[in-house]
Amino acid sequence: MNSIPESRPQAGQEQEQEERGSSLWHDAWIKLRKNRLAICGLVILLLLCLVSLLTPWIAPYGYEEQNLLLGASAPSAQHWLGTDIFGRDMLTRIMYGGRVSLTVGLIATAVALIIGVLWGATAGFIGGRVDAVMMRLVDILYALPFMIFIVLLMVVFGRNIFLLFFAIGAVEWLTMARIVRGQVMNLRKQEFVEAAYSLGLSQWTIIRRHIIPNTLGPVIVYTTLTIPSVMLLEAFLSFLGLGIQPPQSSWGLLISYGVETMEEFPWLLIFPGLTLSLTLFALNFLGDGLRDALDPRTSKD
């Protein structure tokens, strides 16, 4: 970890904090900028987010607009990515599906993030017996086969999108909790935190100024790596017919439709598949890049 200058509690607090903050993030940004793949991923993701946000206005056709006479047609000037068997424009479908897939990815990751960070930080900060009990629980949950449980949840309680957020989020928080706990435990023993204590800073100030900024790096990195696995899980469930339900659509669902007709109309499989893979690529490269930039110790896995 970069050495962080001990803070003086008196005047110029805000200014100093800003300086330190910007130098830590500035270093990371310089490192990240050199990683061409990561920047490439970042650009692709920003584009995807932009397109998803603007979809209702920029989609070439309406979401439910059918053209039964046309049927499934190959990519053409009117329909860049072709149409499905109901004559619905594939590009439009993929754009709307992307909204759902990205939303699930972001919200479920947020659920995982909140639970994981709170759990890990509490365990790490309090330590002792509380920590032992809390982490033991995480160990037990780790041993549970969650893929199976998600399928079970979706079967038993119906295919509800909110349940999907919750179910996926509930699975993915464990690693986050471990990472945050390790980080917090480590930080508590560092000299600069001890110094801050001896200078008489309140516990809350120490958390805010030393613990949180130093935990942020690994948390951001792991969040970037959680999003693709969440999206993959959603696509997996939707593919099996247990995730997103029609008339809503997601990339996983589009792929599963595409598989049914892939012999006659391969573009119905290939385009949603390419989009999903590209997104996962972008997220993974960005996550790897961020890891190298922000957290040099864990960069070798």
Binding site: P145, I148, V156, M185, F239, L242, V259, M262
Partner: protein, 311 residues
Amino acid sequence: MFRFAFMRLLQAIPVILVVISITFLLVHSAPGGPFSADKAVPPEVLKALETQYNLDQPLWQQYISYLGDVLHGDFGPSFKYPGRTVSELIASGLPATAELAVYAMLVALIIGASAGVFAAARPNSMQDYIPMSAAMLGICMPSFLLGPLLVLIFGINLEWVPVSGWGDAPGDKILPAITLGTGYAAYIARLSRGGMLEILSQDYIRTARAKGLSEPLVIAKHALRGGLIPVVAFLGPAFAGLVGGSFVVETIYQIPGLGRFYVQAAFNRDYTMILGTTIFFATLIILFNLISDMLTIWLNPKLRQQGQGDN
């Protein structure tokens, strides 16, 4: 070592109990009984059915008797296949799934480990970048996409291998094994590259090189054992993933294995079948995690002294 194994086995018991309890509660709190999905059944018949399956008893009593049955390996009768028990159904699906998992694991280990070791031998060269980019491609290509694409190319267009089936025609096991194994090959490649890089920077490797050992010998004799530890540690979780992946692969290739049964049971709301399969899978996964942990320790005696504090 034996003490460790014994302790871990003891710890596995509450985990399995938790699994059974959660699944049991989930299934029994599901809205709608197992027979409400069918066409309307007369109340007397419903009553008789409930008595037959013990559904009229209080929940805790059902739980206790189920627990007792499970201890004897009896998961009860299937709701959707009358006259067949869940244990029979599991036994009939297991061979295909196990065979598929073994082949997929072989694909993953052979391709993954050799790609990782190969890449680590010359880091930051083309020899590193090409296999590692391929690995990233493998990670970003989920099995439910890779499978159909492989079928499209090698099954339908080139007609090299059968499109689906299991053991009916020569070569029909190739595509499923590749589909299931690729993602793990990719992870293993990354893990083994990382592990090898770490080991290759150690002093004892420098010593081996200094005494004039050739590079292939250094890798084979000194580096492999340490460098592949992360891979062994990954085998347990990988097995859990293989089980999940087999749902998809068995569905795509119409393989009569456990994964396909599970998905079908999910759609049929065959609760006893779901319950039984979940518990079965969970126990297997816990056991495999245990085995891979023990292998890791066997490979690296240093770990034994380290205690539990892991991060």
